[in-house]
Each structure stands twice: as structure tokens, then as C-alpha cells.
Amino acid sequence: MTTSTRDDAPTTSRDRRARSRRTLIVSSSVLAIASLLSLFVGVVNVAPWSIFEADTDAYRALVIARIPRLIALLLAGSSLAVAGVIMQQVTRNRFVSPTTAGTVESAVLGIVLATMWFPANSLLVRMLVAIATSLLGTFVFIRILRRIRIVDIIVVPLLGLMFAAVVSAITVFLAYRYDLLQLVDTWTTGSFSRVLRGRYEPLYAVLIGGVVAYVFAARFTVVGMGENFAVNLGINYHFVLNLGLVIASVNTAVVVVVVGAIPFLGLIVPNVISMWAGDNLQRTLPLTALAGAGFVLVCDVLGRVVRRPYEIPTGTIAGIVGAVVFIALILRARTDRT
């Protein structure tokens, strides 16, 4: 898991660029088709031509629920995957991700705080507070990570686990007092069933982070090669590092506020893409975003289908699918090596 693919070394960079462009085109077409099909999965039967029949139930289901839901899915999936890959790149550690560095837990703490302080709050207020706390949480985590004296890669996911436990202990402590425990559950298990027209639009904010990430992609790659290397190339190491963490925290907070947390996404998707296509972010960032969107789409559709007419939250499905995929990956990577 810790090494990128080396087997593609003999091919020229032009070959590779052509190959990755092909992959990109193929995978975005697959995602587009899957997205379209997903519009017709759900409790209310919707046929493709419903879009031309205004004022029918099917039309309303499509416009008020299905299409917003699809957009939210794609935005959340791609932005969490991008948040994960940036965090891994700038901290130079494969196991740092929004769900393993306390970022999600900090965002949930922010939501609880916002609900306590401004009981009649709007989505926007919650989002701002959540962004603030998730930024704070992520930076505290990185500070602690820097001060750890054990130079061992397993310590990082573990530290993340502990840090997350501490932050959630504070959250639960507060939620318990103010009777908000049930709400905490909603935000910790991501679900798209609440997404309706007029209630998800702030999610578009992640597009800003996405664009900035793409512009800075090459710099994140260089920062991922180490401080010395980056400074040597004349890159403002600390600025790029902090920018990366800000993008990741903001995107995570926005997603958590609107739909809730989706486990494993920020951890697995970037690692799979990196194993398969390497670590050049300029090339892999779009792929990672597509794969993240695809992962969430699959999990959400599964959640809609498995127990119709009820829905199983996407976060729950993602926890199961993600865990199985992850364990399979680890075990296979090991047996290949020995």
C-alpha cells in the first residue's frame, strides 16, 4: 500500500498521458450512464419521459428529489475523495483522511455547538461553525502528529482513532446535556434521503475547493515529496500544506452538515487510485473525484434497493462495502509481496 505502482515505468510519459486520458473518458462515461440510471431507482416509479410531463407525481419526484439527490451524491462523493487524497499527499501518510484524523468528528462537534448557541439556526450558520471546528480539529491533529516521537506508520491511524474518540467524547458530553444525541447519530451516518430541492444547495460550495485543488494539484504532489524537496523547487511549503488542509477540512465540514459522514470514502478511494495510477495529483485528481462519486452512487443505490420501500443510509452501506474492500486490499497486497 505504501509504494506506488512502478510497473509502468518503462512506458513513456506520452503513452501514460494518453492512457490516463482514455481512462478518464471511459470512467466518466460509465459514471454518467450510472447516474442517469440511478434517477429511476426509488419508491416512486419514474420513467425517463416523465421529465417532459410536468405536474405529474413522477415529474415532481424527479425534479424535487431525484435530481437534487444525484447532484448531492456526486458532489459529496467526489469532494470527500479529493479531501482524502489531499490530506494524504500533504501529510505524506496513506492513512490520514477526514474519517481517520478527527475532521468529521470535529465538524459534528461544530454542528452541536451551533445548535446549542443558535437554536433557530439556519443551515448556513451551522455550516460556518462546523467549518471552523473542523479546521481547528484538523490542525490540532496535524500538530500532535508532528510531535509524536514514535516513528512508525501504524501510530498514525491509531492516533486518529484516539483523537476522534476524544472529540466525540466532548460532543456526546454536550449532546447528552442538551438532548441532542439523536441528532448526532444523524450526522455521523451519512444519508441522502433528506436531500430535497432547496435543502442541499450549500453543498455546491465544495466546487470552489475542487477547483482550487485542481489548480494547485502539481504543488500538492511536490509537497508530498517532502519539505526539502519542495523548498528546493521554490515552492512555499507551509502555504501549500495549510491550503491543502483547509480545502480538505472545509469540504468535509460542508458534506457532514448537509448529508452526514460517509466512512472509508476519503481513505479507500485515494489509496485504490494511487495503487493503480500513481501519485501524480494532476493526473489522478480527476480520477479520484470520479471514483469517489462512483463509490457513493453505488452505496446509495444499494441502500435504496436492498430493503424497498425503506432506505438504508448510504453511510451504513459505505461502512460495510468499504470495510470489506479495504480488508481484501490489505490482505491481497500482503500475499502478493511474500
Partner: protein, 338 residues
């Protein structure tokens, strides 16, 4: 290595007191731990009584027995588990053992329906649950340990992932239940600590005592396991048998404590590591005793804080997770190796 690394660092008051404690003979340290445990228990039983004396006494006594069972069982189980996995970070909680218990309970309702379960005697229910969990847990963890026993890195990752997986599966299974069954599971899983069922308490206390009794003859063999698998085998130890027996005992102990107070992921981690810090020896007779005593102190003390000082505005789990997380992060920042 660790000694040379700590020489040049300014020692804080905590570090100083730990050093001072280390100069006392081990028997004295165990004696002090035992007296503190008794002191905490007496305080819990008699301090700050309001309302009917007799009622408070009998309720508090039941709670005390439950807490002591959980503390001692977790302490012993964690020390043993750490030895057979050859590290100080993995605990049954971190590896998802207690999440497994809830999963087994939920699956049980799913398969058999809540009607049968409600009629079932609470003791039979516990024994069936613990039995299923022991078989399932043993198979699963034996498989993982066999495959990855030399690769701590993989083991930790899989453990963390399994915790999430079991949590998600539990949620998934509970979504598949009918609303009635779901309520039953909630009742079963979240045992009310304020009205501990005397029958459940009796059976779990007996099982815990039996399991710890079964662990005692293993202690000397676990001392040898400290030397690593290869050395242990060449010294004539039946390594597989010792590991299997340890895993059975650990699973049973975790099942009993989870049945009584619900999952407390980090408690084992604090208790066992404190024991190893305060009692630097390889002898499991000493380590297990110390860990059990610290377990009793932490559970009773934590519940005293939560119930009497915070006046039930928080829970034991929250206290333990907060203190445990902070302690462990501090440990990671201080120690150069684990």
C-alpha cells in the same frame, strides 16, 4: 533506546511521580493499588447518599459488583490479548470485539424474532449470545492472527476497520428489523445501568470469575509468549494452543463486560497500558492482577464521577473515552517506542 531518549527531556510532575513509583517494590505497588480500589469502592457505596438508605445501598452494591466485574474482566482480557498480539496498542476494544457482541445480539433478533427472545430467561439469553460470539469471534480472530501474525501494521489496520464494519453491520441489521424488533434490540443492547438485572449480574459475575480462573494457569505460558512466537516454540511451548485458549478467555470476558455496561472501546487500552507502565515486568501474574485492580479503580471511579459529581449529566463511556484518549495521545507523544 527509550532510556537514552528520555534523559535530556525536562520531566513534568507526572513523569516524576511515575519514576518515583517505579522505585517501590512491586508487591508494595500492588498493595497500594488494592487499597485504592477498596477505597474507591467504599466511597462509591457510602458517599453522598440522598433518599432511602436501604434502596440506595442495594442498588449501589449491585452497580459496584457490575463495575468491578467489568473492570477486572477488561483488565485481564486486555493484558492477555496484548501479549498474544505482541503489542501494546491492540486491545479487544480497538479490534472490534465489543462491536461484535452487539452485532451478534442484533443478528439474533433478526434470525429468531423478538418474540422468542423476550420470553427467554435473561441468563439463557446471555449464555447463548456469549456462546455464539465466542465461536464466531474465535474463528474470525484466529484467521486474522494466523494470516498476519508477523505483521503488526496490517493487524492494526484490519482491527480498526473491523470495528467500523461491525458497527455498520449492526446498523444495517437493525434497519432490516421490524419496528417492534428494533425496539427489543435497543432494550437488549443498551442495558440500563440504573436498574441492573440481578439475574444477569449473577451470571456475568460467575462467568467472569470462571474465565479469570481459567486464565491463571496460562499466565506462566504467556510469560514465554513475551519472547515472541519463534522463541516460545523452540522453548517447547504449544504456541497455538496458548493463543487459542487466550482468545477464548478474552472473548468471554469481553462478552460479559459488554453485556453489563455496553461497549467501552478505550477502557482496556488505558487500563492495560497503565498497568504496564506502573508495573514494568513480563510476569503475567503481576500484570494481570495490576491491570484488574486498575480496571476496578477506573470503572468505579469513572462511574462515581459521572453519576455523583456530574449528576448523571454524562456517562461512564464518555468519561473513559475522554480521559483514555487524552492519556493515550500523551503516551504517544512521550514514549519513543511502544
Amino acid at each position: 533506546m527509550s532510556t537514552t531518549a528520555t534523559v535530556g527531556r525536562p520531566a513534568g510532575p507526572v513523569v516524576d511521580s511515575i519514576r518515583r513509583v517505579r522505585r517501590w517494590p512491586i508487591s508494595v505497588r500492588l498493595g497500594i493499588m488494592a487499597s485504592i480500589a477498596v477505597g474507591v469502592a467504599l466511597t462509591y457505596q457510602f458517599a453522598l447518599v440522598t433518599g432511602a438508605w436501604d434502596y440506595a445501598m442495594s442498588l449501589r452494591f449491585r452497580q459496584l459488583v457490575a463495575l468491578a466485574t467489568v473492570g477486572a474482566g477488561t483488565g485481564v482480557a486486555t493484558v492477555m490479548f496484548q501479549t498474544v498480539t505482541h503489542n501494546r496498542i491492540l486491545t479487544p476494544g480497538v479490534m472490534g470485539f465489543d462491536a461484535l457482541f452487539r452485532l451478534v445480539q442484533t443478528m439474533f433478533v433478526w434470525f429468531f424474532g423478538s418474540a422468542i427472545l423476550v420470553d427467554l430467561d435473561v441468563r439463557v439469553r446471555f449464555l447463548v449470545n456469549a456462546g455464539v460470539m465466542t465461536i464466531f469471534g474465535l474463528l474470525l480472530y484466529r484467521w486474522i492472527l494466523r494470516r498476519t501474525t508477523r505483521d503488526l501494521f496490517v493487524l492494526v489496520l484490519i482491527g480498526i476497520v473491523l470495528g467500523t464494519l461491525f458497527g455498520s453491520l449492526t446498523l444495517f441489521a437493525s434497519r432490516l428489523l421490524s419496528p417492534d424488533d428494533y425496539l427489543t434490540v435497543q432494550d437488549l443492547v443498551f442495558t440500563s445501568f440504573n436498574t441492573i438485572d440481578p439475574q444477569l449480574l449473577t451470571i456475568t459475575a460467575i462467568v467472569t470469575v470462571l474465565a479469570i480462573g481459567a486464565a491463571v494457569p496460562l499466565f506462566r505460558q504467556l510469560d514465554v509468549v513475551t519472547l515472541g512466537r519463534d522463541n516460545a516454540i523452540t522453548l517447547g511451548l504449544d504456541y497455538r494452543r496458548v493463543v487459542d485458549r487466550t482468545l477464548i478467555i478474552v472473548t468471554v470476558l469481553v462478552a460479559t463486560s459488554t453485556a453489563l455496561v455496553g461497549p467501552m472501546t478505550l477502557i482496556g487500552l488505558i487500563v492495560a497500558n497503565l498497568a504496564r507502565q506502573l508495573l514494568p515486568t513480563f510476569r503475567h501474574s503481576v500484570l494481570a492482577t495490576g491491570s484488574a485492580l486498575i480496571g476496578v479503580i477506573v470503572t468505579i471511579g469513572g462511574q462515581f464521577l459521572a453519576a455523583r459529581i456530574f449528576d448523571f449529566t454524562t456517562t461512564l463511556t464518555v468519561c473513559v473515552n475522554f480521559v483514555g484518549g487524552v492519556y493515550f495521545i500523551w503516551l504517544l507523544m512521550r514514549e519513543a517506542k511502544l
